[in-house]
């Protein structure tokens, strides 16, 4: 379970986030919505260690993770996707997913150099797991394609597969539906529901499309100007005058 207490982030005097408290628990999809510049991606960057906090605390299962570097936070079981795409373009889908399994492969340096039996077995197990994941999430046919040759929707799917490969308890998705055609959006909603429902992952979802948020999220947190202005069930948020004001009020 993730807990943020009064988290603030500022860049050179500009306050990007102010006293944000938020939580996420397993099996639940929580959407973060708000106009551009509201601080949603900054919040992701703060949770995953890409930007330092100026105040506040972030804890995962009761243990502080703020101040750790991105790879250390990832090692605690936090995975994310990137708004501009975080795949390795020269690698295939399979190789990308294998990179997501990196910390799961128990092989020593010398074992790898000399091709020891145990190192090869560990690699083989990861390879089987990666293929199985691609299959179970419906993209087995893309396994051997370099991701740079894929469509935007395929790339976003592969990035999600890679992010969940190591079965993280917490997953942060940054605008996964951008540029997706409507049928693919429905598939994405289904995928996100499965990650939370079947795998028990706590999902934080940044998304602009209201229909997708309504379909995928159990709860919605609304941001504006670096502040969390409202939080609650999707239907309630849709009718909340504060939320409407933030989206429509000042134009």
């Amino acid at each position: 379970m993730l807990e943020l207490h009064d988290v603030s982030v500022s860049f050179a005097g500009l306050q990007a986030l102010r006293n944000v408290s938020l939580s996420a628990r397993g099996g639940e999809v929580r959407a973060l919505i708000g106009p551009n510049g509201a601080g949603k991606t900054t919040l992701f960057n703060a949770i995953t260690g890409y930007v330092p906090l100026s105040a506040g605390r972030i804890a995962l299962d009761g243990k502080a993770i703020d101040g750790l570097s991105p790879h250390q936070i990832a090692a605690r079981g936090v995975r994310r996707t990137f708004q501009n795409g975080g795949l390795f373009p020269e690698l295939t889908a399979l190789e990308n997913v294998l990179a997501g399994l990196h910390s799961r492969i128990e092989a020593s340096f010398t074992g790898i150099l000399f091709g020891s039996r145990s190192a090869r077995a560990a690699e083989r197990a990861a390879l089987a797991r990666a293929r199985e994941l691609l299959k179970s999430l419906g993209v087995a046919h893309l396994a051997d394609q370099p991701v740079k040759s894929m469509s935007g929707g395929q790339q976003r799917t592969i990035e999600i597969v890679r992010a969940v490969a190591a079965e993280p308890p917490l997953l942060l998705l940054d605008e996964p539906a951008v540029g997706l055609a409507p049928p693919l959006r429905a598939q994405l909603v289904e995928l996100i529901r499965r990650l939370a429902g079947e795998m028990g992952i706590a999902v934080l979802l940044i998304e602009h499309a209201v229909d997708l948020v309504m379909a995928a999220a159990d709860a919605v947190a609304v941001f504006n100007g670096g502040v969390k202005i409202a939080e609650g069930p999707p239907a309630a948020m849709r009718a909340d005058p504060v939320v409407l004001e933030a989206y429509l009020g000042h134009g």
Partner: protein
């Protein structure tokens, strides 16, 4: 096991080669290590570090000085030459980790190479200055390396072991981490991969391999001089990686073999080699930036660089 077919076939070369062609083949073996070592940082890690002649020179001088001044046998200096190269690689990696990247890293590492060359020239008592240092007759566990054939077999074993180890490494989690950093360093860290550690590792391994190449070079040529490790040499190393294929182990081998053999075709035509060499670099940069290896992979998909192994 298919991997070993190549060195096994190569083992027959002395049956057909005269001492001169055998010397050229030995030089190819040295340059195979130079190119695959350089490629690890330049092609796989994607860092514009041009310390390769520095690593090569440190290995050559470490080997030559230990043999000439301390009387060490050849087999005993190989690992220290590699370690000296690895130490220099470590220095370059620290530069890269401090955020000095791309053109700045290129300039800093170039300057490092020139600084070392200056120190070879001015450290006369240890290095022999501009005249260089003669390498005493080498022997390998009692086997005198006084013929090209003897050197060939020893070099072939060393090169096979090192290239095979790199081959294993590149098809493992380590190889994937290194190319992942090249493709997207921030995203790599998000997968619990300690990027800094793998950047250092790639530089150190590159230095180790190229440093060993330096010690083989010293034994093959019989003398180390500062001029062997200048900018022209660096351009040759760069061309081998580029023509062979950035980020491809097989490409590094191809590039080393092709560009070591190339001058032989221009022996009767003074000045032509330099022109052809320059033209070749331009053509590859513009038309085939992924080198011969990518061309080969287009015809034989099985040769495509893979970062995992089925068995």
């Amino acid at each position: 096991m298919r991997f070993f077919l190549i060195p096994l076939a190569a083992a027959a070369i002395p049956l057909v080669a005269n001492p001169y062609t055998q010397f050229m083949v030995n030089l190819m073996l040295v340059y195979i290590l130079v190119a695959v070592g350089f490629n690890l940082v330049l092609g796989n890690l994607g860092q514009l570090a041009f310390a390769n002649t520095a690593l090569f020179g440190i290995g050559a001088y470490t080997g030559a000085m230990l043999m000439a001044h301390a009387g060490w046998p050849f087999w005993l200096v190989i690992v220290p030459a590699g370690v000296a190269g690895a130490a220099a690689g470590f220095l370059a990696s620290v530069t890269a980790l401090r955020g000095i990247r791309v053109y700045y890293l290129a300039i800093v590492t170039l300057a490092f190479g020139e600084l070392l060359r200056w120190s070879y020239i001015h450290g006369e008592r240890a290095t022999g200055g501009t005249d260089g240092l003669a390498v005493p007759r080498a022997d390998f566990f009692g086997l005198a390396l006084d013929s090209e054939t003897a050197r060939f077999y020893v070099f072939l074993v060393i090169v096979t072991v090192l290239v095979k180890a790199l081959h294993n490494l590149l098809r493992s989690k380590i190889g994937r981490a290194i190319v992942a950093i090249r493709d997207n360093e921030l995203a790599t860290a998000s997968l619990a991969i300690p990027t800094g550690r793998y950047i250092v590792l790639a530089f150190v391994l590159s230095g180790f391999v190229v440093g060993i190449a330096g010690s083989l070079f010293a034994v093959l040529i019989g003398r180390v001089i500062p001029e062997s490790f200048g900018l022209i040499e660096l351009i040759l190393h760069f061309a081998m990686v580029l023509v062979g294929g950035l980020g491809s182990l097989f490409g590094g081998v191809l590039g080393a073999v092709a560009l070591t053999a190339l001058p032989e075709f221009f022996r009767g035509f003074p000045g032509m080699y330099e022109m052809f060499f320059g033209g070749l670099l331009i053509v590859f940069l513009l038309v085939q930036p992924r080198g011969l290896a990518a061309l080969a992979a287009r015809w034989f998909p099985a040769l495509r660089e893979r970062y995992y192994r089925e068995r």
